[in-house]
């Protein structure tokens, strides 16, 4: 107990002075001899501190460079069956992509620790009885594979970028509640995509198309063609957002053909439309908007 008090002495001193007032008030009603004040004080402090230290907020292994590698071994042995060997998730069982965890859902070390330890009731994620240290290793590993996004400040003019964005992008893309819904919302995109990847998406949008924005052309019975993005599909039906940004569901029996396209609905912005500097301005605008 002595060592414990020494290591937390500052906290203890602060608590002690508070406690003394609490204890004095309590003992007015209970006739406790004064010699028990110190003991009562210690116990109360220990109780209060234990409430804080049992729910550790920060990864105690954060500074240990070996932790992420050890965590990777544990991850591959225990977690990869559901979350994928690369932690990017397995869709068919709805096990999420963990590389987006720290940016998209704003998880913390402590919240990730808790999910691993306790699981998510009602879901496929079970609790785990690993020792605490091993769970912190997993947290270190997950930090190490987390998508970093665009960390460095982009060299561009955000106001010019906003003008360019409104002119070229906002019909389909939303930022901070302004813009369209045909393409993904870009309000926090620089949190999870690098500058190079985003530049490539603008120059060559068909190279990588996000999961819920896969292009499709539906040929109707009267030979009409409807373009859109696929939100959901099964053997007998397909649910899309059409190019007018309207949600529409179709029975396949009412369609002549369902064509899954390779070319994105997003146009490709070549150098003549948007220069390299233009793109930097747009990305700087997106970065400052988050």
């Amino acid at each position: 107990m002595g060592l414990f008090l020494l290591s937390h002495h500052k906290f203890f001193v602060i608590l002690s002075s508070l406690n003394l007032r609490i204890i004095k008030r309590i003992v007015k009603f209970i006739h406790l001899p004064k010699r028990f004040y110190f003991l009562a004080n210690c116990l109360l402090s220990l109780f209060l501190m234990s409430e804080f230290t049992s729910a550790q907020e920060v990864n105690p292994l954060a500074a240990d460079s070996r932790a992420a590698r050890a965590g990777g071994s544990i991850f591959r042995a225990q977690c990869a069956t559901c979350h994928g060997a690369d932690a990017k998730g397995i869709q068919s069982i709805e096990a999420p992509d963990l590389t987006l965890m720290f940016t998209r859902s704003e998880s913390t070390d402590a919240s990730v620790f808790q999910v691993i330890r306790e699981g998510i009731p009602g879901s496929i994620m079970p609790p785990h009885a690993f020792p605490d240290a091993e769970i912190w290793m997993l947290v270190s590993y997950l930090r190490s594979v987390a998508i970093a996004g665009t960390s460095a400040q982009i060299d561009g003019d955000p106001r010019r970028g906003m003008t360019l964005f409104n002119l070229n992008c906002s019909r389909c893309h939303r930022v901070d509640n302004l813009g369209g819904s045909l393409g993904p919302d870009l309000s926090t995109i620089t949190n999870r995509r690098s500058q190079g990847a985003l530049t490539n998406s603008i120059r060559n949008p068909s190279a990588v198309i996000a999961r819920r924005y896969k292009p499709v052309t539906l040929v109707t019975e009267d030979n009409g063609r409807i373009q859109g993005t696929v939100k959901s599909e099964d053997a007998f039906s397909i649910q899309i957002m059409d190019s007018n940004q309207v949600l529409r569901g179709f029975r396949k029996s009412s369609l002549q053909e369902v064509i899954h396209e390779e070319i994105s609905l997003m146009p490709s912005f070549t150098e003549s439309v948007l220069s390299g500097d233009d793109i930097d301005d747009v990305l700087r605008f997106l970065q400052s908007a988050r």
Binding site: S73, R76, A80, G84, S92, M125, D234, A235, S237
Partner: protein
């Protein structure tokens, strides 16, 4: 000792009252003779497959290709429970208008088959340190004999219930769940024995098939799927008792039974560790095999191993499908299996003789089985991707349609790369021994009908994603199947044309339909998520 005439009458009267025949069947519950009768009483579904053959082929014809488009939901039972991911894999049993159904987390119900309303519910207090049972909290159904129901649990127990109340009559531990054991399969009743299998092949377990006395709960025999040191089959493992003690070989699906041969047929699962094989050279019998056991003693009559020395987690826990067919001009008693390794097999079920092995998927792993019955492996993974660990098909039932000689199953086309890694081998922790990279973009599923004499594909219906739904057929020429997007569907058995479908709202996972007559109306019933829906061509 002298007895009076009166006391003789009394004794005779008591004996008469005690004899089973004095009571009507519905009060007594189904006997072994009733189970043997299988589908001949169409108001019943008394065992996981409907009958002992595993063909899941009902003789009912009221629902036919001409009226199947009239099928509509009659009632839905929503259990009000949640489940981890997978959804109900169960087959309800039906007797005398009452459905007996198990759900996830060892919940169970007796339901009115006319309305889906509940008579009773059972819930087990499971320990909070389950191992394998935590990640796969499923159950595939009851066994039923007389007024008793039998269910295995996630903490590896076998339980017996009174089917009228859900009251527990007895329970027995099958194995220590803390090591990694669980139990999920629907027990098989054969004679006066309750036959069960075990889960846990991803942990340091050793598989077995047990037979229990239904009344006393005493174990009658055990067959170990991993031989002990010095036992037959042990020469296919290293000479190390510790390796054998955790060889895997789970037996986590129902089996089939031939009453004339008195043999039960059972599938065996993967060796442990699944992907890392450096410590287990050899074929690793009897993992990834089908075994034929004497039902009285549990002794092994014959075995056939589908995937010797498995490194891809291709458990062979499939329904053995028994049929008497013509084979090359001669009548033959066969067992047919659609295997996780992508091959369709026909074996002689008397001797285990290999008759046919043909791929039913695009797998590059192997394309033919040699004359010695062993797969000729052309791609061990170094020449491109292989079927993923969940396999080209899995435990969910196939069906055999005798008039058309078609074996119809749910197939998965997947693309995976396996990376073995030395596992930690910690007691109570899963022990796959590596990881698998799955290319989801290349995956899809299909309902496939195979000619049983050649393995040729007669027809298929493709699904957008690799599917885990089972199949049932009826003599009127229909095939019922479920897919990963929640569609419950009816197809023409002859052509594969889709004739009807209903969106149940969530994936149909591991379950196959049952069908029965009730009040002159034929019903089809399917679990989906944690829900049961009954369909008929008109409202009752």
């Amino acid at each position: 000792m002298k007895t009076t005439l009166k006391s003789n009458f009394c004794i005779a009267g008591v004996i008469w009252l005690l004899s089973a025949s004095a009571f009507s069947q519905s009060i007594e519950g189904p006997s072994f003779e009733d189970l043997l009768a299988g589908f001949s009483d169409p108001s019943r579904w008394l065992t996981y497959s409907g009958d002992y053959s595993g063909t899941r082929h009902s003789p009912l014809t009221q629902i036919s290709p001409t009226n199947v488009e009239e099928l509509r939901p009659v009632w839905t039972f929503q259990s009000g429970t949640t489940t981890r991911g997978r959804g109900w894999e169960t087959t309800p049993l039906l007797d005398d208008g009452v459905l007996y159904v198990t759900g996830s987390n060892n919940l169970a119900w007796a339901l009115d088959a006319r309305t889906g309303r509940s008579f009773w519910q059972y819930r087990r207090n499971l320990p909070d340190d389950l191992t394998y049972g935590a990640s796969a909290p499923v159950n595939r159904g009851f066994g039923m004999l007389g007024n008793q129901l039998f269910m295995v649990t996630l903490d590896a127990h076998l339980m017996s219930f009174d089917r009228r109340t859900g009251e527990v009559l007895w329970e027995r531990e099958l194995a220590d769940y803390q090591i990694g054991y669980s139990a999920t399969m629907a027990p098989l009743i054969v004679g006066n024995k309750v036959i069960v299998g075990i889960s846990g092949g991803e942990y340091q377990t050793r598989g077995f098939i047990d037979a229990f006395d239904p009344v006393s709960g005493e174990r009658i025999w055990r067959f170990n799927t991993i031989p002990g040191p010095g036992e037959p089959g042990s020469e296919t493992w290293p000479n190390d008792p510790q390796i054998l003690a955790q060889g895997g070989g789970g037996t986590w699906m129902n089996g089939s039974y031939d009453p004339d041969l008195n043999l039960i047929y059972w599938g065996v699962g993967n060796p442990n560790p699944d992907y890392y094989d450096e410590n287990r050279p050899g074929d690793n019998l009897y993992t990834d095999s089908i075994v034929a056991l004497d039902a009285n003693t549990g002794e092994l009559r014959w075995h056939y191993q589908f995937t010797p020395h498995d490194v891809n987690d291709w458990d062979s826990n499939h329904m053995p499908v028994l049929a008497n067919i013509d084979w090359e001009g001669e009548p033959r008693r066969v067992v047919m299996v659609g295997n996780r390794n992508g091959f369709f097999y026909v074996l002689d079920r008397v001797t285990g003789e290999f008759l046919l092995g043909e791929p039913f998927t695009a797998t590059t792993w192997a394309r033919e089985i040699g004359d010695d019955g062993r797969p000729i492996i052309v791609n061990d993974g170094s020449l491109g991707c292989l079927p993923d660990p969940w396999g080209s098909t899995n435990f969910y039932p196939p069906t055999f349609f005798p008039g058309l000689d078609l074996f119809i199953l749910t197939a998965r086309e997947t693309c995976a790369t396996y990376v073995p890694e030395l596992p930690a081998n910690t007691r109570g922790q899963s022990n796959f021994g590596g990881t698998v990279f799955i290319d989801a973009e290349q995956g899809y599923g299909a309902l496939r009908a195979l000619d049983i004499h050649t393995g040729d594909l007669e027809w298929e219906f493709t699904y957008p994603s690799p599917t885990f739904g089972g199949v049932m057929s009826t003599a009127s020429g229909l095939v019922f199947a479920g897919d990963h997007e929640g569609n419950f569907m009816a197809f023409s058995a002859a052509t594969g044309e889709n004739l009807w479908h209903y969106q149940t709202g969530t994936r149909i996972w591991g379950a196959a339909a049952i069908t029965y007559m009730l009040d002159g109306l034929q019903y089809v019933l399917i679990p989906s998520g944690t829900t049961l829906t009954a369909f008929a061509t008109r409202m009752p």
